[in-house]
Symmetry: C2
Subunit: 372 residues, 2 copies
């Protein structure tokens, strides 16, 4: 068990935005949520999955919906607590720890808010190792673990509990309810035991985000290359340098859908990269050819600050680099590719792991590339 201070929380939020692949919420808002909780309730406890008893019950609290309204309609915490309390009531008060469902600027931080407020620990890990736009896209689904009871709450005091036959139905109902609730609301779902966490979750991902966040912070402080520091920490590849020349974004069924068009600079001058997103970046298309896709992570980084830019903050004129980061190995199994690979998002291509494509194409920008 470790107690987290302000610096740790800031680094976790910064690193989470990198692994959030454009989604998972704004790290600035995530930082606010967790620092507010820190000030009010004191340091948060982070534990490893090994510290959980086999039978300990863990749940995943999160924000669900489009990140766009989140900017104007910031969750006050009331709905997060209500979603957590609803699921805990339906589990007869047996919840002992929380864990992020995904890694992202906000959804990495929500469990810290709940943990501090309720006085329970956060487990170091999540169940995506990245952010994904649909609630069934978790490693737990690959392991046959159901999302129910799935609690949803809004800031008005409404709550909804789903009991579904599979996690695809949970996604369908939760999405509709999130739209009714104003395109964003709080959720808590996927009750699992300590044993299931160790078998089916992505472990250590909070520490991983902290290392990334720290690397960015230290590089900036030393006026060194923050992008290089991220690549080193993540075994990522730099897949494009350029300027944003167009952003198309619409909110549909509660998602932010769209694409960002980049005009190449430096080594990529003359080329064009299109990054398509559904809350999260899904594919990167260079001059008509898909060069990176889910389940690998595609992240757009501000070229100056080394900070990840979420899809709702993409703007014309930004100078950025696009990074590819290898996904967790669970996503590279046949079950993982079927669940969260390109075909799920209607891209009719075979998934090619990032390292394979970039090793072949020799586009790794001179950096060493390896698996996670």
């Amino acid at each position: 068990m470790r107690l987290l201070d302000e610096q740790a929380l800031r680094d976790i939020a910064t690193g989470s935005a990198v692994l959030g692949t454009g989604g998972g919420g704004d790290p600035y808002l995530g930082t606010l949520v967790s620092l507010q909780a820190l000030a009010r309730y004191g340091p948060m406890q982070l534990i490893t999955a090994d510290e959980l008893d086999d039978e300990a019950m863990v749940v995943y609290p999160f924000v669900i919906g489009s990140p766009v309204p989140l900017i104007e309609k910031f969750p006050l915490g009331k709905e997060m607590v209500q979603a957590y309390e609803t699921i805990n009531r339906f589990l007869h008060g047996r919840v002992q720890a929380v864990m992020p469902v995904e890694i992202g600027g906000i959804n990495s931080m929500v469990p810290f808010f709940i943990a501090a407020r309720v006085g329970i620990p956060v487990v170091d890990g999540d169940c995506m190792g990245r952010a994904y736009p649909e609630v069934q896209l978790v490693t737990l689904t690959m392991h046959g673990i159901g999302a129910s009871p799935f609690a949803i709450a809004d800031e008005r005091g409404n709550s909804v509990v789903l009991y579904t036959i599979d996690n695809f139905w949970a996604e369908r109902f939760a999405r509709s309810i999130s739209v009714d609730m104003g395109a964003i609301c709080a959720g808590a779902a996927y009750p699992v035991t300590g044993k299931q966490v160790r078998e089916a979750a992505v472990l250590g991902s909070i520490s991983y985000t902290e290392r990334i966040g720290r690397a960015i912070r230290e590089a900036n402080a030393a006026k060194q290359d923050a992008i290089g520091a991220i690549l080193e920490e993540t075994n990522g590849v730099l897949i494009f340098r350029g300027k944003i020349v167009d952003v198309q974004r619409r909110t549909s069924k509660g998602w932010a859908l769209g694409e960002c068009v980049l005009e190449g600079m430096d080594a990529d001058a003359g080329a064009r990269l299109v990054v398509r997103f559904q809350n999260e970046n899904l594919v990167a298309i260079r001059d008509g050819e898909i060069i990176a896709s889910v389940p690998d992570l595609i992240t757009i980084i501000d070229a100056e600050s080394g900070q990840a830019i979420t899809t709702e903050h993409l703007r014309y004129g930004f100078r950025v680099v696009v990074l590819g980061i290898p996904c967790d190995p669970k996503w590279r199994t046949p079950a993982g590719i079927q669940l969260g690979g390109p075909r799920h998002f209607r891209y009719d291509i075979d998934y090619v792991p990032l390292e394979q494509r970039f090793a072949t194409a020799g586009r790794t920008d001179g950096r060493q590339v390896s698996g996670v």
Copy 2:
């Protein structure tokens, strides 16, 4: 307490379609549901509200959604039982009786299916005295009674429980979930005590439908005027005779929305009547002027058989009569008119009670008109 036999159930279904004002489901399907239950589980018990203890817990099981898919996707009973069992579980197994939420060809009958299957009585009454297309449009809402917990289930095994701050939010969430479930699903909601039933529900409406159904059956058997028999039983008025010349119908947000255009015959020759509906008939417009509106009942009856025609069965060429039937007095209070009157459905007119309009216009077809 009275035991209902096949004849009673058939009469109730027939009469319910008349008060269903075009919605509430097909009486043929409703009859099937209840006769199947009768054959399998034996006679149903009908009790009056006076037979309930003050503290007895009563719930309302129903089908929610558009009646259109109901024709092809007939509920098998599994989802109805699941919705009932879900609400009963959330009420700690305390449910002692059921009651129709509305009067309609199917929704009058659903409680009989549940009652027979579970072995509890049906209370003679409902909470609309008609059918309405939204779940907050119940007399219970006027009395400040909430719909939660509100259970919803589909035939696949999914269930959802709503806890909402008011009944308008219950409608919103339930509607979305019904669309996700295939535009039709089963619900059970509005837990009330025996005392609340006596104060806030519409009492005796099952017996009322039985009297109407019996009157139609006996008139037909005696080759007498079935329409006249309905008018006598309901204190209704004949507002139009004509032929259906156009039907527009679309399914939107899980409702059957549209209008039916009639060309006048006999005394109404040369005139045109438009009946607009949202599952249920909302307004009747004669040559551009609204001559009847919610909360009063507008029912289209087959001129030959005297059977009510639900909105999904309206077809070009049918010869019909349009009846107006006075609503329950609760709907004529200021709170009732605000809740279920024309302005709720975006018709910017003051509600004029049927008898007032037709007494003035002298269009009662010679029949005596009075309140319910």
